[in-house]
Amino acid sequence: MTDGSSASRRFRPGIVIAGLCQSPIIKPILSDWDRFWFQPQSPLPMALFRILFGMLMIQFCVLIQPDLFTWFGSRGIVSSGAVHSFSLFVELNILNVFPDNDTWLSILFFIFFLGTISLTLGYRTRISATVVFLGICSLYHRDPLLFNAGDTFMRQVALWLPFSSAGDAYSIDQALRNKRAGKPWYAEGEPSSPWVLRVLQIQLCLVYAHTFYGKTQGYTWTDGTAVYYSSRLVELRRFVVPYIFDHEWTVHMFTYGTLLIEFSLAVLVWIKPLRYWVLAAGLCFHMMIDLNMSIPQFEWLMMVSFSLFLYPEDLRKWIHHVANIIYWRFQPDARQTPLP
């Protein structure tokens, strides 16, 4: 015989989960989780990153354009057939939708290039970011052996940018919105959920975490000689930096220093008092590599990505400071009246 009391004793997962969420241990964790991902935040870091990333994408197009047909053309170094036989998966490649000829390649590349410019300017930002993603993804799938880890990071970024608030500050989109609302053209948009910013921050940390872990598996990194070998790859050498790569103690220091900085950029960057110190170390690290090695765009992309970790209040302060300097320079009479 069944009655209401047995029904009331039936296990109800929803009630149990709701009860757990209200427990004194779980509730603060959920609250922090929610705040981390969704508490509205200024769009400034994403906007700055959009501009810098967009400039790198423009450079990407400029650098690859002279050899466009060599790499992606119908009579280039790599045929579509060879790529198809290499990869057995269905891959997103807009070039496959159109006839395999150089005219269509030129048209699609031009659209991609326009997308990089409009992304940088913040015009139709979401659409522009989508065009950029489709462009870089298609080129990658047309000729995957051309692209390095930096290009992979570019694809990751371009995938997420359309969902972000990157167009809500210092963009044509925002200037037009401000004009309609009667605000100054440079006013930043309303704070919004920063979940895309968090995804990109975590993505960047994963890059460093993965490469740190990968390096710990190699004996040249653990015996301290890896930097010696990398500095002797003649095809990558930009300048012969004196002394640093010629002595055992400096080679050891830079090898272990690389591991330390990459670990810091993956982990310690999340600790607020350490963040700017870690980013400063990361900047020095990448500039040092860029001085010594010619790996176009990769180091610059990593440095540009550090802007994702800038606190909006600091960024606003710096931008305001720079804007004031420019304002005073061109309007000397207004020295006593800083920008609003």
């Binding site: 650098l63 690859i64 002279p66 050899d67 060599t70 790499w71 009579r75 280039g76 170094i77 790599v78 045929s79 060879a82 036989s85 290499f86 990869s87 998966f89 269905v90 891959e91 997103l92 993804c137 990658y140 052996l145 051309l146 692209f147 880890a149 992979t152 694809r155 990751q156 995938l159 994963l206 890059v207 993965h210 490469t211 990968g214 390096k215 598996q217 190699g218 004996y219 040249t220 990194w221 890896a226 010696y228 070998y229 990398s230 002797r232 790859l233 003649v234 095809e235 050498r237 012969v240 790569f245 010629d246 002595h247 055992e248 103690w249 080679v251 010619s294 790996i295 176009p296 990769f298």
Partner: protein, 154 residues
């Protein structure tokens, strides 16, 4: 192992590869390459003469040219010059044949040769005479030979 190979992500593998967001962050890991190399193509013409064509070499370029031609280094030095990319080699050889085409005496065969040399193991950390101390790239291996077919050069 790539993240998309993980069991937890395997249901998403096809989508990850479709979107081109598969990741493998191993910059100089687990160890930097310990070999210097360059590629040379030997082009055999119809009359039997041989010509050499050198694949772009970064170390012989100026700052600006390196920026523009980095993809050549990436494509060959990090990829096709080594094993596992055999399906790409005929296209590369054909490209070289087209570059060196002379209708009166066309190429009939292209051989791509890798010249390499290991980077010496550091001894007591004293390498003051870098880069002159690096050995000449004299180890050779023919990585492909392509017989140019009628119609290839049209």
């Amino acid at each position: 192992m790539r993240p998309s190979d993980l069991t937890a992500l395997s249901p998403l593998r096809n989508y990850i590869l479709f979107l081109g967001i598969d990741q493998d962050w191993r910059v100089f890991a687990p160890k930097p390459r310990d070999t210097n190399l360059h590629l040379v193509a030997v082009v055999t013409r119809q009359d039997g003469t041989l010509e050499l064509w050198e694949y772009p070499r970064m170390e012989r370029m100026n700052f600006v040219d390196r920026l523009y031609r980095e993809r050549f280094r990436k494509y060959a030095h990090d990829n096709v010059a080594w094993g596992g990319f055999e399906s790409f080699l005929p296209d590369l050889a054909l490209y070289i044949a087209r570059l060196n085409n002379n209708p009166g005496n066309p190429p009939v065969r292209v051989s791509l040769v890798r010249y390499s040399a290991p980077i010496p193991v550091p001894t007591a950390g004293v390498n003051h005479d870098f880069p002159e101390a690096l050995p000449p790239q004299s180890d050779t291996e023919t990585i492909t030979t392509y017989a140019v077919k009628p119609g290839d050069l049209e």
